[in-house]
């Protein structure tokens, strides 16, 4: 109780609450703009944090981080353009809801489920931080490999219902992910004459496959109208509101646990939460056809994961992704060394951050509810006016990543590929997962094989890895049976 009061006192003193508001507003904006992610924003603000001091810095940067998770979902829902990799799963049901005239409830569900997840993850952060950081240490290369393989299988099977097509898309993503410098040997792979040493950045593929493909698909239609012509519902009905809560709790639990695992966990958790919810959630709704549960589950999971990701960051100094690595840099710049004793060593920082997250999540819902009407207005603009603007913003976003025209060329080609994929009724989400997790799978698999001198026994000898492998085998069997049953 004494620590909670300390946290509240920290947030509401020295204008720290203002830094929190600034962070979430800026985060929401950068999440909405494709291409301009939290990593770029935080790196630009890094020199500012040096002058601010550790507590306001980390509160502001955390606000940018989870604000961008929320902002990324808005464009995913309205325009089928995920602003963040963790918003890819939100596109599936979120954009379908927009097409069904339910953009308002979808945006509300994204905000409200993120709020539930925020509370859940913050409570976990304050109660179980020391214990959970020990659990995170149990994950070695074999466990990571098994977890990623499980992610591929679950998404491959559950988003498409066809294991062969789903895994095929996943492997195409993995192949795209191999482009760039091989981390262990330094050899540049598949770069041809383009400057692709660093691989193809996520926004390039996401904008190509989602935004450009969506624009091309819409303008090839004989009649171009608004994105949705009928009455647009602004807020969820009582029944829809009730349906948001169970998937949000499931998503929060999955996200909170996976957030402890370093390495793109907010993305993995959104995929896992969607897959689990589709399998075990509300049987009366059809996922992929505009189910509100399909928005609430991944959104709560990615928000919970982005917050519990602070546990390995603060207690072990392990950042889960590039954005968190920058936050670690900001802490180190201010002379704060992360460690298991950080709660007792820096109580003001730890509890201040925890309470700022609760405050920030509440603010995200309060600030964004009035904006639902504004966002939904976008759908009223005639599409033939809107698509050149979307195209221009996307090109601007891509160009601003590396100031490289090759990125635009690659996105244009991926847009054409995305259109073909959409027309063939294949799912893009498994490809995105393959792209994001493929390089990690390669890295951990190589490490595991190096440790064991090329023996696969490590996947059987380590209990967590064995459990994950067994679940993966069961999923393959279920997937094959379901695929042939469907046929």
């Amino acid at each position: 109780m004494e620590y909670l009061i300390l946290g509240i006192d920290t947030v509401f003193s020295n204008y720290n609450w203002l830094y929190c508001i600034f962070g979430i507003v800026l985060g929401t904006l950068v999440g909405v703009l494709p291409g301009l992610g939290p990593t770029a924003t935080i790196s630009m603000l890094l020199p500012v944090t040096y002058a601010l001091g550790p507590i306001p810095s980390i509160i502001m940067l955390a606000g940018i981080y989870y604000g961008s998770q929320y902002g990324g979902s808005t464009t995913a829902i309205l325009l089928n353009t995920p602003g963040e990799s963790s918003a890819v799963m939100t596109c599936i049901d979120g954009h379908k809801m927009t097409q069904n005239g339910k953009a308002g409830p979808a945006i509300f569900a994204a905000g409200f489920s993120s709020f539930i997840a925020g509370i859940f993850a913050t409570l976990l952060l304050v109660t179980l931080s020391p214990l959970l950081s020990v659990l995170a240490l149990q994950f070695g290369p074999a466990e990571y490999c098994a977890l990623i393989a499980l992610g591929f299988l679950s998404v491959g099977i559950l988003t498409t219902g066809d294991i062969f097509k789903g895994l095929g898309m996943c492997f195409i993503g993995v192949l795209i992910g191999t482009i760039g410098t091989d981390i262990q040997t330094g050899v540049i792979r598949f770069a041809f004459s383009y400057e692709l040493e660093n691989g193809i950045a996520f926004p390039i593929v996401a904008i190509g496959l989602f935004a450009f493909a969506e624009i091309i698909k819409n303008i090839t239609k004989d009649q171009i109208n608004e994105l949705y012509k009928g009455t647009i519902q602004l807020f969820p009905s009582k029944e829809e509101f009730k349906r948001i809560i169970p998937p949000s709790i499931r998503g929060s639990l999955i996200g909170s646990l996976l957030g402890l695992v370093p390495g793109g966990s907010s993305t993995i958790s959104s995929y896992a939460a969607y897959a689990v919810d589709k399998r075990f959630g509300n049987k009366k709704v059809v996922y992929g056809e505009g189910a509100i549960e399909g928005v609430a589950a991944p959104e709560s999971a990615n928000n919970a994961a982005s917050q519990t990701g602070f546990i390995p960051l603060l207690s072990l100094g392990i950042p889960e992704n590039a954005t968190m690595a920058l936050m670690l840099g900001a802490l180190l710049l201010s002379g704060i060394i992360p460690g298991p004793d950080i709660v007792s060593r820096e109580p003001q920082l730890f509890w201040g951050l925890a309470i700022s997250m609760l405050f920030g999540n509440l603010l995200l819902v309060i600030l964004n509810i009035p904006f639902i009407k504004l966002w939904v207005t976008v759908l009223r603009i005639p599409y033939n006016t809107l698509y050149p603007v979307i195209l221009a913003i996307c090109c601007l976003g891509i160009y601003s990543i590396h100031y490289n025209i090759n990125d635009l060329v690659i996105t244009a080609v991926l847009g054409l590929f995305g259109y073909i994929v959409v027309m063939l009724r294949l799912e893009v989400a498994p490809l995105m997962l393959g792209l994001i997790l493929g390089p990690m799978l390669e890295e951990y698999f190589r490490r595991a094989m190096m440790f064991t001198e090329g023996s696969f026994a490590i996947f059987i000898e380590r209990p967590i890895a064995l459990v994950l492998v067994l679940i993966a085998i069961v999923l393959v069997v279920i997937g094959i049976i379901n695929t042939f049953k469907r046929k």
Partner: protein, 124 residues
């Protein structure tokens, strides 16, 4: 397969840069083979109506704008992209173009002067 020919694969214990792309391609070929057999055995045939004229035009347009960008700057490049893509549709009006172009120019100014991005707005 390109990986197998151009990059060293190594062994399972000491993998080269070509090992992972090679194994992934083999897996992809197997999956493709299964899908090929399934499509031959399928009783129902679904025809996909591809309209390639507009998709190819949009792709070529973005590529052309990308190559023109360093020579003309961001403001004309974006304007060119918007006008050339907008007028695919016969209902697109010049008024809408100027309004939305003005919006993008404001966004560009924010990117350059507020966020400090090094974007060349107008290349003289």
């Amino acid at each position: 397969m390109y990986g197998l020919l151009h990059y060293e694969t190594g062994t399972l214990q000491d993998m080269g840069p070509g090992w992972f792309p090679y194994v992934t391609s083999v897996a992809l070929i197997i999956l493709g083979g299964i899908e090929f057999i399934r499509s031959i055995l399928a009783k129902e045939i679904v025809c996909v109506n591809f309209k390639l004229k507009i998709p190819l035009y949009i792709t070529a347009l973005i590529i052309a704008v990308a190559y023109a960008w360093p020579y003309i700057g961001a403001v004309p490049a974006i304007g060119l992209l918007m006008v050339s893509s907008g007028f695919i549709n016969k209902d697109y009006k010049a008024r809408w173009f100027f309004l939305s172009w003005a919006f993008i120019v404001i966004l560009l100014l924010v990117f350059k002067y507020v966020l400090g991005m090094s974007i060349v707005l107008w290349n003289t």
